[in-house]
């Protein structure tokens, strides 16, 4: 009561949150059970009780410019113990979903990713681009008869021509979004990048070791699920870059032998990704009563990831089986999925990688004390963020 604060409720924002997966938010009666049962909530200004009242009152600035909605790892212990079925875990997820739109640049893509109706044309763009390129490349190169070679179907140069600009676009969009995010969290001014990067070094081991997920009690299996997805994804990401170097710079010919270390890494990563996804999807189903089935954002992201993994695996299997038509079709679909994943990364749930990492780094930077302290940072490369494509 010391300093006056004029509450300016944004009713539209409340409605948006309800539509983005927070439909239960009005049920909260502020008992604060959630803040206490949350295994990763700090002692000072714990979440998610305060976020629930901000959400109810439509205090958009407070909620969206708040690193705490990202410190939440959606364990859903809060939702399981909530006496009112207000599902704080889902409300915070809705606030994060809102953030994807709010910080999105360009705005129209943020809106498109939030809207089920836009889904066909979001897929149609890469489908058309790759169809056009395949048409352009047709007849220019061809594999030896009886052999299936993807780079003869669509030469690497054509693929690069799409993905290098896509990556640059995603990086730019991420940088703009994150800059706005950091500015809002910091109360209107951009915090020094050096300080944030230093903090990033502190939080990276926490992220890579999944310490926060390990603390979840309600949703233990998700630790393995998310771990599988993250490392599967990182493995495939490394593979993609290695292949880029091998083929574009050293002009090595595909396909690579199954015993090639890069190929082994690729296959293991794909399996980790699929295994992780299976755990997460099963878990969503299992906890649907207490925690809800998840939002459109969740499902879109999970299914696109699954699409990337499955089309990749099937391209390989069909190639090994010698079924050309199916192998090339799967490869085409694979390219569409990858495009979807990366081109729309800053506006989809993929962006949580960047926003959560940034929020955790910011929390570390401002000295927000969290229950589990990391002993020492192992200082791996500090540029690991979603923007690194």
């Amino acid at each position: 009561m010391a300093k006056g604060y004029v509450v300016e409720p944004d009713v539209g924002f409340v409605r948006d949150l309800q539509e983005l997966g927070g439909d239960t938010l009005k049920k909260c009666y502020q008992c604060a059970t959630c803040s206490v049962v949350c295994p990763i909530s700090p002692d000072d200004k714990p979440f998610p009780r305060k976020e629930m009242i901000w959400a109810q009152w439509g205090l958009k600035d407070k909620l969206i410019g708040n690193p705490d909605i990202w410190l939440c790892h959606n364990c859903n212990d809060c939702s399981a113990y909530c006496p009112r079925g207000a599902k704080p875990g889902e409300v915070l997820a809705a606030a994060r979903n809102y953030s994807f739109q709010y910080y999105a640049w360009p705005k129209f893509l943020g809106k498109a990713l939030a809207n089920k109706k836009s889904l066909p044309w979001l897929f149609a763009i890469p489908a058309a681009i790759f169809l056009f390129l395949i048409f352009m490349a047709y007849g220019k190169t061809s594999a030896e008869p009886g052999k299936i070679v993807f780079s003869k179907f669509l030469p690497v140069l054509y693929v690069d021509a799409v993905f290098i600009p896509t990556a640059l676009f995603a990086i730019v969009a991420f940088v703009i979004g994150l800059k706005k995010f950091l500015t809002e969290m910091n109360g209107g001014t951009m915090p020094p990048v050096g300080g944030i990067l230093k903090s990033l070094k502190n939080v990276l081991p926490v992220i890579l070791k999944h310490d926060k997920f390990k603390e979840c009690t309600e949703n233990k299996d998700r630790y393995y699920g998310h771990l599988g997805i993250l490392y599967g994804f990182l493995g495939l990401f490394v593979v993609t870059n290695l292949v880029f170097v091998m083929m574009d710079i050293f002009h090595m010919e595909d396909p690579f032998s199954l015993l090639n270390p890069v190929k082994i890494l690729a296959n293991l990563s794909a399996l980790a990704l699929i295994g992780g996804l299976a755990v997460v999807l099963y878990n969503r189903w299992k906890t649907r009563e207490t925690s809800g089935l998840g939002t459109y954002y969740d499902w879109l992201f999970l299914l696109v990831l699954l699409g990337v993994a499955l089309t990749g695996i099937f391209s390989e299997l069909m190639r090994l089986a010698g079924i050309g038509a199916l192998a090339y079709l799967c490869y085409y679909l694979h390219l569409i999925c990858i495009f979807f994943l990366f081109a729309y990364a800053p506006f989809s749930k993929f962006a949580h990688l960047a926003y959560r990492t940034t929020a955790m780094a910011y929390a570390d930077y401002v000295g927000r004390e969290l229950p589990v302290e990391e002993g020492e940072s192992e200082g791996s490369s500090s540029e690991e963020e979603g923007s690194k494509e």
């Binding site: 009666y29 502020q30 604060a32 803040s35 206490v36 200004k45 079925g85």
Partner: protein, 425 residues
């Protein structure tokens, strides 16, 4: 009253199911205006939950006082007959003409009993004293409590060794003990039935984050009433269960399982006042004791607000707005740490205290018994029948969670409804 004569014979009477404060009041009110009343009580004594209380709020007077007045009125009124150890087994018929089958469970002690207590001296087995929520033991043959009405012993056959032992039979000079007693049934014709089935404390061990059943020094509000009672397990000293130490600090956990869709979705109405009352008597007995009350909202309806103001004025009573959601024990000391977020300051609060009292709510007893088809219950098991539904009505806590004063008022109203079913035909 001319219509009265048209009624079929034997239906000028009322059955009251439950002999707690609501049932007793309804029975006495109906009988004192001239109707025949039967009371059926499951326990071996009358008085129900009120018999277990040590003090009433807000006057802090002894509840047994009111029960004794009612017992006196029952004794003096030959229109009331009561049956203890009895249950309603079946109800048939309709408004104005019910045929009720009553089962009398064996007490194993007959009317010859003078409560001399010789039987207890020789009884070799002990049982958990359920009247005191298992905080002490009594013998397999026992008086439910010092002031029991009727003042007669009873045998717990689950604990009793039976005929082979028979020591109590030998010790009894009055031939009062019949170990071979069996249950029997009889039928009553009544015009109306008042369901005064009352409530059970919610099973606090179902609340897995509040430590009840895991840590001995986490007790319930009803256990606290027994601890504070002069005829309780500690003769009125508030000694914590783990080491019988007099408590110097207590945390009250409000809404323990109440207003919670995982447990009881409703507010039990009395728990805030009960905790405030308990805080006053703890403070009176132990002037140095520190009290912490953790709450979501303090609900002190109507004039009870004044009671709250008085307790708030006590500087040793601290109120924290935040529900306790985590409870841990220090195994060395037996002390309990409760954790909540203080929603006013926005900080988590941890308080280590010597004993924790969970303010658990009421479960309608009717939820755990088979009811006649005519009875309508809501989703929690509270009875909702009204005049238009027939000749059965619920009173007091069978209808909704309320305090004693509301039960008594409600019971007078129910007595009138029961009479209306007889005269308005």
């Amino acid at each position: 009253m001319a219509e009265e004569k048209k009624m079929p014979s034997g239906t000028n009477s009322v059955l009251v199911v439950g002999g707690g404060i609501s049932g007793l009041t309804a029975a006495v009110e109906a009988a004192e205006v001239g109707y025949e009343v039967f009371i059926v009580e499951k326990n071996p004594y009358l008085g129900g939950r009120v018999a277990q209380m040590t003090k009433y709020f807000p006057k802090l007077c002894p509840p047994y006082c009111g029960l004794e007045i009612n017992f006196r009125r029952i004794k003096d009124n030959n229109r009331i007959r009561f049956f203890t150890c009895a249950e309603v087994e079946n109800v048939s018929g309709q408004r104005g003409d019910y045929d009720v089958t009553i089962r009398l469970n064996p007490r194993y002690v007959n009317e010859n009993c003078t409560s001399c207590g010789e039987c207890v001296k020789v009884c070799p087995v002990e049982r958990d004293n359920d009247f005191n929520f298992g905080m002490d033991k009594n013998k397999a043959i026992y008086l439910p409590h010092e002031m029991s009405f009727p003042m007669r012993y009873v045998i717990d056959m689950d604990a009793c060794l039976g005929e082979e032992c028979g020591k109590c039979v030998a010790a009894c000079k009055y031939d009062a003990i019949e170990l071979g007693m069996t249950s029997s049934t009889f039928n009553l014709k009544v015009a109306s039935i008042i369901w005064a089935t009352g409530w059970e404390p919610y099973d606090a061990s179902k609340i897995d984050n509040l430590g009840f059943g895991q840590y001995p020094n986490v007790i319930t509000n009803m256990m606290m009433e027994r601890l504070a009672s002069v005829n309780g397990p500690t003769q009125g000293k508030i000694l914590r269960p783990s080491d019988q130490k007099e408590v110097n600090s207590i945390a009250f956990v409000q809404c323990a399982g109440s207003r919670d869709e995982n447990h009881l979705p409703y507010c039990s109405y009395i728990c805030c006042m009960a905790s405030l009352k308990q805080a006053t008597y703890v403070r009176e007995q132990y002037p140095d004791a520190e009290i912490y009350v953790f709450y979501i909202d303090l609900r002190t309806p109507g004039r009870y607000e004044k009671f709250l103001k008085n307790v708030e004025a006590d500087e040793k009573v601290t109120f924290i707005k935040g529900k306790v959601a985590k409870v841990t024990e220090d195994p060395e000391t037996g002390n309990i740490t409760v954790e909540a977020e203080d929603a006013v300051s926005g900080r988590k609060v941890q308080k280590t205290v010597e004993m924790v009292v969970l303010a658990t709510g009421m479960v309608p007893s009717a939820a755990n018994i088979t009811l006649p088809e005519e009875i309508k219950v809501d989703e929690s098991g509270f009875i909702v029948n009204g005049l238009k539904d027939g000749g059965m009505f619920a009173v007091g806590c069978a209808k909704k969670p309320v305090d004693v004063v509301s039960c008594v008022e409600d019971s007078t109203g129910a007595a009138l409804k029961a009479i209306q079913t007889m005269v308005r035909r």
